[in-house]
């Protein structure tokens, strides 16, 4: 009996130290989350307006001189995948990869992974990777997102891929984060064909004035647009990661507390049993 008491005591100790770690991680995640959330919230209107504006332009665009606007037969797709740098964030990374796998099934594609987990995942699966330069999701700045946009544009113009989409995690609230896939290029793919039908609905397309001309405008705007969206998706993803980690660590701490409670119960029971046994032995000894 004394042996099992010691075992339980050790178990309690180990669970306690795990709980200490999960608690600390939760605190770190919540303080990082606050900052990340502010950044995501200040960036969100820009992100949404940017996407909406380009979608509006694409809906009424009649100029196809720029290679960015015209859809070509898709032979290869380039995905920008934003995941976390570290694990222990609940389903944050695996949910994103699950969604990406469902989307990319049977396609010929390449990726630009952002975040260490994304890099590791696609390296393991042998998917062609365009660059490993942006492996750390946490320190991507506006300047880096411009570099990514530049890279994307160059590859797209060179015909290395015919479609660009970005996979990231939407920060819905502190408790919910949903992975999402957003098409970036060509601009035609921004609108759902059915919705487009409804918007147009027999109405003539509005003519937009481009100054100096549509090609120059698109060539100037598209890199800007890509970097804006990459940065926005980054902010959302970083906030989501911290949110997911906080929830996961909160659950882990709660589980650990529950486990300690149960183990304490067992410990007391074992102690009681040991004492009872000792008394029985003494009584038995004096009786004989």
């Amino acid at each position: 009996m004394a042996g099992s008491m010691k075992e339980i005591k050790l178990r309690i100790k180990s669970v306690e130290s795990t709980m200490q770690i999960t608690k600390a991680m939760e605190l770190v995640a919540s303080s990082k989350l606050r900052r990340a959330k502010e950044r995501a919230e200040s960036c969100r209107p820009y992100f949404n307006t940017l996407h909406q504006t380009l979608a509006d332009i694409a809906a009424s665009n009649t100029e196809f001189t720029s290679p960015y606007t015209k859809a070509r037969p898709v032979k290869r797709t380039c995905y920008v995948v934003i995941a976390g740098d570290r694990g222990l964030a609940g389903g944050y990374n695996s949910n994103l990869f699950k969604m990406m796998d469902a989307q990319t099934q049977g396609e010929d594609y390449c990726v630009i992974p952002i975040g260490k987990k994304a890099l590791e995942y696609y390296q393991r699966r042998g998917v062609p990777i365009l660059t490993t330069e942006f492996a750390l999701a946490a320190d991507i700045s506006v300047g880096d997102s411009f570099a990514i946009a530049d890279l994307l544009c160059k590859g797209y113009l060179a015909g290395e891929y015919d479609r660009i989409a970005i996979g990231y995690t939407n920060f819905v609230s502190m408790l919910t984060q949903t992975p999402a896939l957003l098409p970036l290029l060509p601009l035609e793919s921004l609108n759902d064909p059915k919705e487009l039908e409804q918007i147009r609905d027999g109405k003539p397309r509005m003519l937009i004035l481009y100054e100096p001309d549509s090609e120059t405008v698109f060539n100037a705007i598209v890199p800007e647009y890509l970097s804006g969206l990459v940065y926005g998706a980054m902010c959302e993803s970083v906030a989501s990661e911290q949110g997911a980690r906080r929830t996961a660590m909160d659950a882990a701490s709660k589980n650990a507390a529950e486990m300690i409670e149960n183990l304490n119960l067992y410990y007391n029971r074992a102690r009681q049993a040991a004492i009872t046994q000792e008394i029985t032995e003494i009584v038995g000894g004096s009786a004989s």
Partner: protein
């Protein structure tokens, strides 16, 4: 005077949202001024001073660098890489940044990439300090 709805957004958050009489800014093709009921229009922004005439006629100045401008259906959306209102710019810092960038270029010995970065920096600093001065 007629007004139009103007939204100015930057990566760091919204800079302006409301009615305006007139928007003046520098595009890649030169200066433009947008008034209410402008035809549907789309262009990319360059670096330069921007002026917004508000509903009550007051003029606000800002340093506007990069981005895009669209006017659709009397709603104007300006998405800037950076947009700083003149009152938010610290003139001393802007001047110091300009002098630093200038000194760096004059000193020479930079690689092409560094030179491009430095001249971009100088251009931004020039815009900023010229807006702050007035």
């Amino acid at each position: 005077m007629n007004t139009f709805h103007l939204t100015i957004q930057t990566v760091d958050g919204p800079a302006f949202e409301g009615e305006a009489q007139r928007l003046f800014c520098r595009t890649i093709d030169g200066d433009v001024a947008i008034l209410a009921h402008h035809a549907d229009y789309c262009t990319a922004l360059g670096m330069g001073e921007a002026r917004v005439t508000l509903e009550d006629g007051t003029v606000r100045k800002a340093a506007c660098i990069g981005g895009m401008l669209t006017m659709l259906d009397n709603r104007c959306r300006l998405l800037a890489t950076t947009w700083e209102w003149s009152e938010d710019i610290d003139p001393e810092r802007a001047h110091a940044a300009r002098d630093r960038a200038q000194a760096l270029i004059e000193q020479g010995g930079l690689s092409n990439r560094e030179l491009a970065l430095a001249s971009a920096k100088l251009q931004r600093a020039l815009v900023r300090s010229s807006v702050a001065k007035k």
